[in-house]
């Protein structure tokens, strides 16, 4: 598939996986005599460099964060680490010989934090995230998944179709139905919807998938998404209830009280609901929110450490702009500064550095404890709101609990009781959760009973 035209080193499309190189556009670049200006300019990721839609021009030539400028030292450090952990001498080591899962270590973490050399990203992301392991051990092949999910008529397929060109419209690989990335995006999104019936198609996943497709082959993208959904992000992140991502917004708000007290006071004082802005950041793991160069650095870490990174990075970004926010004139300008905040940060090392200085000690355990608490609050609130028409939530809950999913772990029980235990205590937890569901139903019925008895509602 990688046709005859190759991007110039550091030039347009040069950071993409070769099968994504848009041959038609590259052909034009080649045919052009040097005097003639091409009608559209693209950066090394295939993004248009015009100023339409208020998108700031992205310069690729000699830009600081250009992934083509791999730091030779960092590359050597990575090579040495891989060779050292695989007992190979220089030159012998090929990707086939490197284990599908890299042993976790402080050394590996500090390498990931320092950034993965761009040319090594596809292979390392697959190994850090556990996606390669899933690919190798899966009982179902990508081909079968695609075959099973090729039905055009479902409402899911229709929604996906509506969004294909609305996912990354400014990128040459996704800008028209004939663009090279579009059929891949369609197949991966349909495959995921089939694989996870409780999720189906969630707007926002498309942004993540399309960003991954720029650098990885489509089959690998699917397994990366499986790793994100099953292991790296908490359960119910993308499911129809969005409980996981909603919970995380409450957790974030609580962490701000602890880590950024001045910002907390500001948000309280101006009655600003931060989740209106940050839900999007978490749901897309910052894809479509930050500049792609910064995104790559965040994702290096996300694929190694999971959702903890989303909190650390968010806190770090807010910290960088805290002074500006606190000195804002009014609610509207605070709101605008918050909305525009991620797109104004470009410097990967600065953002990650601030994130780790501020919240590097935040642990997964603390995060899980906060999550359990806030999930309980949310469920409780929903139950109260649903007293009048209590069927919705109960059916939702039953659906989540009793669902027989093809893939494991994205169940409510693992959200309530933690992931590892959920594996071990799965049946017990499901029973417990069903008891809770039954109890809730009983309470809701009682509430309905009294609701009906209330003279104010005695119209019947």
């Amino acid at each position: 598939m990688s046709g005859t035209y190759t991007p110039a080193p550091g030039g347009p499309f040069s950071a993409l996986t070769p099968s994504m190189w848009p041959q038609d556009i590259l052909a034009k670049y080649h045919q052009k005599d040097s005097s003639e200006q091409p009608e559209l300019q693209y950066d090394e990721f295939g993004f248009r460099m015009d100023t339409e839609d208020g998108v700031e021009p992205r310069s690729w030539l000699g830009s600081e964060g250009s992934p083509q400028r791999e730091d030779p030292q960092q590359r050597l450090r990575w090579q040495a680490h891989l060779e050292f952990t695989h007992n190979h001498t220089v030159g012998d080591l090929t990707w086939e010989l490197i284990d599908p899962v890299l042993p976790r270590s402080e050394r590996l973490r500090s390498l990931v934090l320092g950034g993965i050399p761009h040319s090594m990203r596809p292979q390392l992301w697959m190994r850090l995230s556990g996606a390669l392991q899933k690919k190798r051990t899966s009982e179902i092949s990508y081909r079968e998944i695609i075959k099973n999910s090729s039905n055009d008529d479902s409402s899911t397929a229709k929604q996906i179709e509506k969004d294909l060109l609305r996912t990354m419209p400014t990128n040459a690989c996704f800008s028209s139905l004939t663009s090279v990335g579009v059929p891949r995006l369609r197949r991966v999104l349909r495959g995921l919807a089939w694989l996870y019936p409780d999720i189906g198609y969630c707007q926002g996943t498309g942004m993540v998938v399309s960003c991954l497709l720029l650098f990885l082959e489509e089959e690998d993208v699917l397994w990366m998404m499986c790793a994100l959904i099953e292991d790296l992000l908490p359960p119910s992140y993308f499911s129809s209830t969005l409980l996981g991502v909603q919970t995380d917004q409450r957790v974030l708000r609580q962490l701000i009280v602890q880590y950024l007290p001045a910002l907390d006071r500001l948000l309280q004082e101006h009655d600003i609901e931060l989740s209106l802005i940050t839900l999007h950041w978490f749901l897309t793991s910052f894809a479509s929110v930050v500049d792609i160069r910064l995104l790559l650095r965040i994702w290096d870490l996300l694929f190694y450490q999971g959702s903890l990174v989303l909190f650390q990075v968010t806190l770090g970004m807010l910290k960088i702009k805290e002074e500006e926010l606190v000195s804002s004139e009014n609610s509207a300008s605070i709101f605008n500064t918050l909305s525009d905040l991620p797109s104004q940060l470009r410097d990967g090392p600065a953002v990650l550095g601030e994130a780790m200085r501020l919240a590097g000690t935040l642990s997964q355990e603390t995060l899980e404890a906060h999550r359990h608490k806030h999930l309980a609050y949310i469920l409780n609130e929903q139950a109260q709101l649903n007293n009048g028409n209590n069927t919705t939530l109960n059916t939702n809950l039953n659906k989540v609990v009793r669902r027989q999913s093809l893939r494991r772990k994205s169940t409510l029980s693992s959200l309530l009781f933690g992931e590892d235990e959920a594996e071990a205590l799965k049946s017990k937890n499901i029973k417990q959760t069903e008891l809770v569901a039954a109890l809730r139903e009983a309470i809701a019925r009682t509430a309905e009973h009294f609701h009906c008895l209330d003279p104010r509602h005695s119209s019947t």
Binding site: Q159, Q203, M207, S239, L242, D271, L279, T284
Partner: protein, 212 residues
């Protein structure tokens, strides 16, 4: 009542409707006067501000562009808070998006009421009218009836692409919002303390009344 000095109004307006009916396009056309066939799908909610001159007064419209996918409906209670008006949009070329209109209206009315207990002014937009096939909207009398039955203050055939009727629809909504605001002020019991006047914002949170 006299307006002897320059007054400013700030209204929060919701734009809701099914996925891909053109909510973002309508807002971009209204606020930025341009159109693109492929705006990015809205995740959660997006915001835009439009400033109008209205009878020598300034009206600021804060437009809330709310994601159309059903699962984001879980968050609409937060999104709807303190809104004064709404557009509900459907796509004339997709009957299913029209069928969803009543669902959106019910969601809106069940989660949002004005201080006087009334529903917020809502205008129905039949978008993409440039693409024809508007069998539905051809029958004006039926549409009027639909609006009356479902509590819409009006309806417009719109096209974000061709810039048809968007300013008109917005003016209609603003007119009704101002009317309902006056109505609220008049129906107010004189000795009631309105928390909105006390502070910059807030007053809708039930816990505020218990504040020390």
């Amino acid at each position: 009542m006299q307006n002897n000095h320059h007054k400013e109004h700030l209204y929060k307006i919701l734009v809701i409707g099914d996925l891909g009916v053109g909510k973002t396009s309508i807002i971009k056309r209204y606020v930025h006067h341009n159109f693109s066939p492929n705006y990015r799908a809205t995740i959660g909610v997006d915001f835009a501000l439009k400033v109008l001159n209205w009878d020598q007064e300034t009206v600021r419209l804060q437009l809330w562009d709310i994601a159309g996918q059903e699962r984001f409906g879980n968050m609409t209670r937060v999104y709807y808070r303190e809104a004064m008006g709404a557009f509900i949009v459907f796509d004339v070329t997709r009957p299913a998006s029209f069928e969803a209109v009543t669902k959106w209206k019910e969601d809106l009315d069940s989660k949002l009421t004005l201080a006087n207990g009334k529903h917020v002014a809502t205008v129905l937009l039949a978008n993409k009218c440039d693409q024809g096939r508007d069998v539905l909207t051809n029958n004006g009398i039926k549409m009027e009836q639909f609006c009356q039955e479902n509590g819409f203050v009006g309806w417009y055939e719109t096209s974000a692409k061709e810039n048809i009727n968007i300013d008109e629809a917005a003016n209609c909504l603003v007119k009704h919002i101002i009317a309902s605001e006056k109505d609220m002020l008049q129906s107010e019991v004189p000795d009631t303390i309105t928390p909105q006047l006390e502070k910059d914002k807030g007053g809708t949170c039930s816990s505020c009344f218990r504040a020390q």
